[in-house]
Amino acid sequence: MSVRVPLPRWVDVALLPVLNVVLAFLIGGLIVLSVGQNPLDAVGYMIYGAFGYGSGFGYTLYYTTDFIFAGLAVSLAFHAGMFNIGPEGQAYVAGLGVIIVALLFNGLHWALMFPLMIIAGGLFGAFWAFIPGYLQAKRGSHIVITTILFNFIAISLMGYVITKILKPAGVDSDESAPIQAISRVPQLREFLALFKNSPVNLTFLLAIVALFFVYWLVWRTKFGYAMRTLGRNPTAARYAGISSSRMIMTTMALSGALAAMVAVNNVGGVQGRLILNFVAGAGFVGVAVAFMGKAHPVGVALASLLFGALYQGGQELAFSMPGITREMIVTIQALVILFTGAMGDMLRIPLEKLFARWQRPAGGG
């Protein structure tokens, strides 16, 4: 029988993901249709909300920032052969590091505070990912299980710390004392009026830097080479003299530090205080982003932008078409995750057949 012919590269990296997204939207459209709404209007609102005006685009970039960090965290660990499902908890715990330095040096100019937040948040996030890394390397506890469990521990721990320790007297909502305006990460709207009222801040530029950093680290350094070797073939890595336990722990710590930047974005840049559950699922979206982006920074950037647009466009859609509920928007977002992640290769074989036939026109067989 016929041998499977690999797809041309452009089909693999561009056409396949686009087809998956289109398919997800088609099914999403059927759902919208089934509740008696116009799917074309819905798509229009989503695009308008995500890109059509300055403030909306700012919100898109704000969500994108979170997803880039979480996506890079998952991607980095993935290259070393580990599946880090814990960016949610790592980012949450990192919020504690961010708020500690912010409240300790409250009033310090942001130019000094921003690096402090990055370092402190990074250390806390790295620590929270290091523990599962240690347990994997030294005790053989599976990283998927431990990182998932550590998300729950983070929720309980942070719930306790916020409500019992950080919450100032006389405040009803569960939040820490506020960071002074001068110490907060500046909003991009202060430099570009276009982004008025949107929460996108300098952390977005940090996310761009992180994309380049991860590319450099994974493909341009000895460390990255060791990491990829470990990920592809642990036995070969051991024969090459690479200490797998040290690599696992270091990579996980770095992965956690990347996830931690979600906290810098939200605690330091948007809310200016530590609130309960500020991560709001961004860490989990990171898993989908990493898979859709094939763990490559360019892919992660594009997938993050897509999910950022889905989040912000979804908000616009819920606001403008009250017939479409919050839950339906989650369904549409879930469809995109389903088709690009879990069922990402569903169209691969039909496409391969199509291209094989196209390359060897009829008659041969």
């Binding site: 229009g44 308008y48 890109f51 009803d172 569960d174 939040e175 205080r273 819920a318 009250p322 919050r326």
Partner: protein, 333 residues
């Protein structure tokens, strides 16, 4: 740049229709918190108030359910920039967002429930939860066969303690030897959305002999009422009238008339009688109360009705004062 001009072209038509749709001037709006519009509790009460307004006036209103914290300010601004007024926000989680947005729109009106925002265009609505809880506490103590009753707040929060403290005062007033158990569901705001944990806590209280359980836990409270009904005991609903959830097994509900507060805010604006400032709604204003309807008629004896009616009259007259936990963070009983 090409990206934005492209999307502008696509979205042009949409934008126009959006503006046209939002042009109905001074429609009111309500923003629901994370628990969602149909939480059978606080948010749903705000929704019911808005629906009441819609039915009575034939008017329309805007609504939005937030999914994360960044959307609080966003939704407030979206409604405000389209001229919606008043904009009702249920819950203290909106304080920071409202403080940021309300001053930008001095001509529009905002309402916050359960919290105080001291701005000239904001109405803050507080409830005397302790007064309504006092009444349901009396009912619970009189109904109890075991001499032990329970209260289940979502977590350790002053607001929820005010419910629990009023309940204990009422219970002790009706029956001095009553034993009141108090157990939290969780340690933070997420406990409001954890009905499974609520069920466990309720079962534990039932095991300790409690036969009337008062849930003060928003969306999670459904788990308490379910557990009480499954055991053939009685639950007490909160915020909305929840007597219908398990007819015969929900003794009563401590209604917090968030619906009335929402409805009044909408109507006041419509009738030009808007006022800012703090409103404190107790039994006298019908802001709180114990719910009686066909679903719990069989559970309430004439003696219970008489006792509750007398207590209500005394509280309204001011001769009976129910202590508010929030004043000194302590409960006398």
């Amino acid at each position: 740049m090409t990206l934005t001009s492209l999307t502008k072209a696509i979205a042009g038509g949409v934008a126009l229709s959006a503006i046209a749709a939002g042009a109905a001037f001074a429609d009111p709006a309500v923003i629901y918190d994370g628990g969602g519009k149909f939480d059978k509790s606080f948010n749903e009460a705000a929704y019911n108030g808005a629906e009441m307004y819609k039915k009575e006036t034939g008017g329309t209103y805007g609504e939005f359910e937030i999914t994360n914290d960044a959307q609080r300010e966003q939704a407030l601004r979206q409604f405000a920039s389209r001229g919606y007024s008043p904009i009702v926000t249920p819950g203290y989680n909106f304080v920071t967002a409202l403080q940021a947005v309300a001053p930008e729109f001095p001509d529009l009106h905002f309402v916050i429930l359960d919290a105080v925002v001291d701005l000239p265009n904001v109405r803050s609505v507080l409830f005397k939860e302790q007064e309504g809880s006092y009444l349901v506490g009396m009912l619970a103590a009189m109904k109890s066969e075991s001499g032990t009753i329970g209260v289940i707040p979502a977590f350790n929060l002053d607001l929820l303690e005010a419910f629990a403290c009023g309940y204990k005062q009422g219970a002790h007033a009706a029956r001095p030897d009553i034993k009141v158990l108090e157990t939290y569901i969780g340690s933070g705001f997420d406990a409001f959305n954890d009905p499974a944990k609520a069920t466990e806590v309720a079962k534990s209280q039932l095991d300790q002999g409690a036969d009337v359980l008062y849930q003060v836990a928003g969306g999670a409270g459904a788990g308490v009422l379910q557990a009480a009904a499954d055991a053939g005991k009685w639950g007490i609903g909160v915020d909305s009238n929840q007597n219908y959830l398990h007819p015969g097994n929900v003794l009563t509900s401590m209604t917090k008339r968030v619906d009335v507060a929402t409805y009044n805010a909408f109507m006041d604006e419509k009738n030009g009688k808007w006022t800012a400032g703090v409103l404190n709604l107790g039994l006298a204003e019908d802001g709180v109360g114990a719910a009686f309807d066909d679903n719990n008629k069989a559970l309430i004896t004439p003696e219970m009705t008489a006792a509750v009616d007398k207590a209500r009259a005394d509280i309204v007259a001011g001769t009976l004062k129910v202590h508010d936990f929030r004043e000194d963070k302590a409960c006398p009983v």
